[in-house]
Amino acid sequence: MTGKLMTMAEAIRQFVPDGTTVAIGTALEPLIPFAAGHEMIRQRRRDLELVGPISDALFDQLIGAGCVRCVTAAWVGNVSEGLGHCYRRACEQGMPRDIEVRDHTNFSIALALWAAAWKVPGLPTRTLLGSDILTTNPGLRHAGDLVEVDAVHPDVAIVHVQRADADGRAHAWGPLGITEEAGLAADAVIVGCEELVGSEVTLSDPNRILFPETKVVAVVHEPGGAHPSPVQGHFKRDHSFYRDYAQQSRSAAGFESWLNTWVLGVADRATYMTRIDASSLRITKHRPSAPADYGDE
């Protein structure tokens, strides 16, 4: 299969129209596809439904930019700093618009994606019993001694990984959160990668390939595309960037200013990378994994 390699702008234009249900930020704190989120903002995408476990600032930015109709997630905020101020303004004041919130727990959102992956209406669980989350999300219901978690079916999952080839075989490592189930549940997957490699690299280790390539519709070579989130082997987390975002986004005006500086006033991720101090974040000490021997004869 060919023709999957494209820019982030092309990938978002082709595969994330208004109203799309998008799973993003599925590895929790690491590997968050900020570059993809920023491109959605630049393209003024509207009425998205965002699906994720915890979202470390990215959902807050998309909500603040008015891209979002509905959030299906366990936690939306800023992990090292606390509340999501745009999320607050949207929920508390309908600003810039009202959003629907479908609360989950981390476990239940994983199960909701497994349900979609296995094509069943839902899966049972023992979490959520006794929680008022059952009263606000109609997709979670008491069923006898258990809770039934309705399937959540993303149109597209967007991931950022350490390396991928042009056919969409993606290698990621470190904690993976709900990345695998999101890719299996989604109709299509957009892969952003730090390194674009040949298939001799990806196919040398098929156990590390995250998804079937048949799900992958776009491959974007986007170094730094997860900043300010960490990428094992490539980038440390930029804690101060999260702090500055938290401080500036406390007011709507501050958020607008932040958005102009870091998203709307930036052509693409390559330009963005020239504006951060990437060298101080770059991981330079290598820790290669022991090879697995796939020999067959």
């Binding site: 476990p53 090292s80 606390g82 509340l83």
Partner: protein, 262 residues
Amino acid sequence: MTNSYTPQEMMVAVASREIRDGDLVFVGMRLPILAYAVARNAHAPTARGLFEVGLMRDQPAASFLGTMGDPPNVVEALWATRMSNVMALMAQGRVDLGFIGGAEVDRFGNLNTSYVGSPRRPTVKLPGSGGGADIAILSRRWVTLMSHERRRLVERVSFVTSPGHGDGTPGWRKRNGLLGGGPVAVITTLCVLRFPEQGGEAILASVHPGHSVDEVRAETGWDLKVADDVTETSEPTSSELAAIRQFDPDGFWTTASAVTKG
């Protein structure tokens, strides 16, 4: 022994003492990461940490962590996996102790991290459960850490994100099918509250040095019961403080400025 420590350092030290040797600890965001590190390098050398991002460890990360998903937490990890696998261990009753941060806690240990006011139009939209409700329901016992303010320690939370002992009647959790044992302690900036083994309401167990029972009661939103044997909380030891400062060298989590986070 130093006499100078921050309220957050006190909370971390107290939290670390809740970890028993051999425990599998479900480590939450922020202060619990430090508590695990302190305990592991002191009285609980075989305690393991489980992180919902998808990690298991038997030692603290070598460098500072802003989040559990930071690269140093992956180096020397015993398992890097999916979150649902970590949750499976907790559902099986294999997690001895969980930590949950709370915005609001009530008399019966129920936590609200979702909505202050009406869910339809809240006064404050809090971030949500994350793994909090999962820990609250499935871990064998759990502890919450929070800043002690009258608006945070309330008679009943308006929204139960993470159930504690429910309505406080004995056996509430079992009757409602919750697998784990529920909250055993609330560790605040002023004191430690504990719950009876069968559930029920929080009881003031110890007051941190420099604070009084009266102050704690005044800052608590219900008529707080006081244990007959209420004591003063033991101060952080110098080795506890040394460990805290090793893992939070710049006071990211444990200085006064950390209090403003959120």
